[in-house]
Amino acid sequence: MSRYRVSVHIVPRTGVLDPQGHAVADALHSLGFAQVRDVRVGRHVVVDADAESPEAAGTAVRAMCERLLANPVIEDFEIASIARP
């Protein structure tokens, strides 16, 4: 068993109105960042977990996302990185 640090991005699903993202996009436009097309605001969760391998750590965190960390009705998640802490 080794310890792994798994980072997950959780963002509002495409098609679900994200008023926070819109507000941030508007603010970026008003700052002059005219190239901004879309912003979505989500969460970044970092889990330190013991596992046999990086793959096993990723599988476990994926299960955690499906059961608790993300709500599939409104959110998508992706594992951003798996590393040794």
């Binding site: 509002p12 679900v16 109105l17 008023p19 608790l68 960390l69 709500n71 009705v73 409104i74």
Partner: protein, 230 residues
């Protein structure tokens, strides 16, 4: 008839619910701590408003794993009536007792004010004391009250008459103006397929005393008494 009111850490409308039951309609009520496993013989359960677990992660996401939620789920599976108000509605959606989810208000601000809702289905155990199409004044107090679901779920809810309450404007019409939080189809409250779990964002228990204005919420409790004791 006995109402069981679940108190989670962060519930704040549990006492309002208790007083509405005991003083408003003169029925029995018992407070149920979220760590318990005993529903104390309750005939109807209330998941009250508040901010259980500080709304950490998502509103209702942690509360659904409270010990008592296993009994609440089994009670609902047996056909027991569950009234899920505001944070209770969020918890019921997270627990899978109701479809969809409640997310940040479209206007991004917390809303604490009176709204108009129209009763869309008076055939339920929760709404049989209302007149069809009756417009109620009820308070809302939420930051995450925008009901969303995928198109198939919305079609199912609409097709089966399970949208029980809708936000309306001053003329009683379903308009964007009358929608305080951007909920899809102006949905304020829905009921489960089996008709025994009702979730709504407005607070009927805070509109149950004539001293505080129109007691439009009281009829919801009277509806339950009429149906359960029938």
């Amino acid at each position: 008839m006995r109402f069981g009111i679940v108190t989670f850490p962060g519930s704040n409308s549990d006492i309002d619910a208790y007083q509405t039951v005991v003083e408003g309609i003169g029925e029995d009520a018992v407070m149920l701590w979220h760590k318990g496993h005993d529903l104390a013989g309750a005939d109807v359960l209330i998941l009250p408003g508040g901010f259980a677990y500080g709304d950490y992660l998502r509103a209702g996401a942690i509360a659904r794993f409270s010990p008592i939620m296993r009994e609440v789920g089994a009670f609902a599976d047996r056909g027991g009536r569950v009234l899920a108000i505001c944070n209770g509605f969020q918890i019921a959606c997270e627990a899978g007792l109701l479809p969809g989810a409640l997310v940040r208000n479209a206007g991004l601000t917390f809303l604490g004010r009176s709204v108009r809702v129209r009763v869309e289905n008076t055939g339920t155990a929760f709404t049989n004391a209302y007149a069809p199409g009756q417009v109620l004044r009820l308070p809302v107090a939420h930051g995450d009250g925008r009901f969303v679901a995928d198109a198939a779920v919305i079609d199912e809810l609409e097709g089966e008459g399970r949208v029980v309450m809708r936000y309306v404007d001053a003329a009683g019409e379903v308009t964007a103006e009358g929608n305080p939080n951007g909920s899809m189809h102006n949905i304020a409250g829905i009921i489960s397929a089996a008709g025994n779990v009702l979730g709504l964002m407005p607070h009927p228990e805070r509109a149950a005393d004539a001293l505080l204005g129109a007691p439009d919420g009281l009829r919801m409790f009277e509806s339950l008494v009429a149906r359960v004791t029938a």
